[in-house]
């Protein structure tokens, strides 16, 4: 083991690991920061370029891009309320609120710092626990994945603001959209209206871009009066000072731990991790009332989670050859281009390659902070343009990015339709995050629910016979009931107060 590690360190001087890690990190941040360009698209664009590279250089370039894009997604989330990546959706809640209150530079600094913490934790876990943790992930059955999906959805009970029933409606909308396409078990087409473009379902990234970005453009253009301008204080990136770091340490560590937990389970992913981290950080915060109003911890937790998840998310791929997400599927393509099949055999036969990849990721983590300073100024420059120009260019950029997914005009129609839906949801005060969560988890919940029942011959007790699944389901029930009770109590208190004073948001479930 020591020889392998020393050999990997030696590769720093003899291979292109360092420049590729830095290049990948910068490219990833830039791609992640562009609305509509997901980490997987950012990586896929590089894939053809890696044909002629050394395998280790190609893998480091792709993996660093993945990690960089996870951070980059937070930049537009904070600056223009548009998540660059799915996982950055939770960062909008407090990130954009801080920016709106003139603390954009601090929000960006907190995001960068906690992303670095998440990266370090994620890559350490990747290096140290790949083999043993992959065993745990392997033991998960369809029942466990179903229960995990239900637990993820129960987060809506505490994440969404306003009435709980609106959060439920929003989640059901997401789940309903997720049923469009080919049935995961029988292969029957559902709700496709005879359109072959819908057979593979509605691409999540397109719905996200439409819900968040297009509806934001519609909302901003519909707002009367002067355009909101980015404050000068938002034109710099300010890392948190010592006191600031102490304030967000607990949230960063909670986020990192949840990122590690979700990262080892295929299907959970950075989006679930960041929402769960947000929820748990609020639960354990000394100031839960500040969440949703520009809380520093509300940025730190999801950012640490999605970056830790990105590192740990490589474990199933490197240990078993199973990609856990679109991005790791692209990385799998990087392996296959060079005739390599990731998994236990590769780990045994050529460990230097994998430890070289780990070394590259460490370099990329170190490069994150300077790379962020280099690339953020471009993003902030864009946000500081006059709003009519920014809105026009955001819409053009969104359509161009969406077109690049499948080169399809139909996809652009989907983005526009999602934008109209998002605008209507804003009008009716429906939270959008549960819709995204329902959309992300819909396939996993349905497919694993039905697979479990096929295994049990239709007996629902199978979900309680799996102990891990039973714990997940119990937690989901506790979250939901707890949230209901909290809402009921708040209403009782509100009835006892004068009407004008009862405007505080619903308390999180305890």
């Amino acid at each position: 083991m020591t020889d392998v590690i020393l050999q990997s360190v030696g590769m720093l001087g003899t291979t292109m690991i360092v420049p590729m890690a830095i290049l990948g990190m910068v490219w990833g941040i830039f791609g992640g920061a562009l609305p509509g360009i997901s980490p997987s698209i950012t990586m896929a664009l590089l894939l053809p370029l890696t044909y002629t590279m050394e395998p280790i250089s190609a893998l480091v370039l792709l993996a660093s891009t993945y990690v960089g894009a996870e951070y980059g997604g937070s930049v537009p989330a904070i600056l223009i309320r548009t998540p660059g990546t799915n996982a950055a959706a939770a960062t909008i809640i407090d990130g954009y609120e801080m920016k709106r209150r003139g603390r954009g530079s601090e929000a960006l600094g907190i995001s960068l710092w906690s992303s670095s913490v998440g990266n370090v934790v994620g890559i350490l876990c990747l290096i140290l626990f790949t083999a043993p943790l992959s065993q745990l992930a392997l033991s998960f059955r369809p029942t466990t994945y179903f229960a995990l999906g239900v637990l993820g959805l129960s987060v809506i009970a505490t994440v969404s603001e306003g009435l709980l029933i609106k959060g439920v409606i929003s989640a059901l909308i997401g789940l309903a959209i997720a049923t469009i396409g080919t049935d995961p078990v029988s292969g029957v087409a559902r709700f496709t209206l005879g359109n072959p473009d819908l057979l593979s379902g509605v691409p999540i990234i397109l719905v996200m871009v439409g819900l968040f970005a297009v509806s934001e453009v519609l909302d901003q253009i519909g707002t009367k009066g002067a355009w909101e301008r980015a404050q000068p204080s938002g034109s710099r990136l300010r890392l948190p000072d010592w006191a600031g770091q102490k304030r967000i340490t607990k949230a960063s560590l909670i986020g990192s731990a949840i990122g590690v937990f979700c990262g080892i389970m295929p299907g959970a992913g950075g989006t679930v991790a960041s929402f769960m981290a947000y929820n748990e950080a609020r639960r354990f915060s000394r100031h839960p009332e500040t969440f949703g109003k520009g809380s520093e911890e509300g940025i730190a937790a999801p950012e640490a989670a999605n970056n830790a998840d990105a590192g740990v998310g490589l474990i199933p791929l490197l240990s078993f050859g199973i990609p856990a997400s679109n991005s790791t599927a692209i990385l799998l393509g990087g392996f296959l281009i060079h005739g390599l099949i990731p998994g236990p055999v590769l780990f045994d036969r050529d460990p230097t390659l994998l430890y070289g990849l780990f070394t590259g990721l460490i370099v990329a983590t170190i490069a994150l902070i300077p790379a962020a300073f280099m690339t953020l100024s471009v993003c902030i420059w864009l946000v500081n343009r006059p709003k009519p120009y920014l809105m026009a260019f955001v819409l053009a950029l969104v359509f161009t990015g969406a077109y690049s997914v499948n080169f399809s005009i139909f996809d652009l129609g989907l983005v526009l339709a999602a934008g109209v839906l998002g605008f209507a949801m804003r009008y009716f005060g429906l939270p959008m995050l549960p819709t995204i969560l329902g959309l992300v988890l819909g396939y996993m919940i349905e497919a694993n629910y039905r697979r479990s029942l096929v295994i049990s011959g239709g007996d629902h007790w199978i979900f309680l016979e799996d102990r891990i699944a039973a714990v997940f389901l119990a937690l989901a029930l506790i979250f939901f009931v707890g949230s209901l009770v909290a809402e009921f109590r708040q209403r009782r208190r509100a009835q006892a107060q004068p009407a004008g004073s009862a405007t505080e948001p619903r308390e999180p479930a305890q």
């Binding site: 059901l172 029957v188 709003k387 009519p388 819409l395 053009a396 005009i409 405007t503």
Partner: protein
């Protein structure tokens, strides 16, 4: 009728359509006991139930003025909806411009279509279209084309009506 009551009714109507479509999903011989329409049916009924719940909640809340402040949707919606009619009309204009862009993208090609989209959106937001703004629109379209087509290798539409310049 307030917004929550209207939303409750809309959700129930959408749930009805969804349930009707779910019932029309064909049964496959390869299917399981739940079937392809099983989960959508459950979701449809839950959606209908939630819509009814919201409608009843809004109805009860309207009769109990002390709770109105907690549930008032004005507290939960964006700033654009301070004047809902203006917001909806403005948004409808943007949607129309975007829809025209989608239809024009293939025949016109990427650069002319995006330049027109940018110019139309700027004009719609009250920016006077002087030569500088037209240069921004055309230059912006060219920059995006250079970034995506030349830089990222994405094959953007060339256009079928105009001479193939890009």
């Amino acid at each position: 009728m307030n917004r929550d009551m209207a939303l409750g009714l809309i959700v129930m109507a959408v749930a009805g359509l969804y349930i009707r479509s779910a019932l029309a999903i064909p049964v496959s011989f390869l299917g399981d006991a739940i079937g392809a329409g099983g989960v959508p049916l459950v979701l449809g009924w839950l959606l209908a139930l939630a819509g009814a719940g919201l409608f009843i909640h809004a109805l009860v809340a309207r009769r109990a003025p002390a709770t109105v402040a907690v549930t008032d949707p004005e507290d939960e919606v964006g700033g654009a909806f301070a004047d809902p009619r203006h917001a909806v009309l403005k948004a409808a204009g943007v949607i129309l411009i975007a829809a025209v862009f989608l239809f024009a993208l293939r025949p016109l090609g990427y650069v002319p279509a995006v330049a027109l989209l940018l110019a139309a959106l700027l004009a719609y937001q009250g920016v006077r279209l002087r030569p500088v703004q037209l240069i921004v629109a055309i230059g912006g379209a060219l920059c995006l084309w250079a970034l995506f087509d030349l830089g990222l290798g994405i094959d953007l539409p060339d256009g079928t009506l105009l001479p193939n310049l890009f």
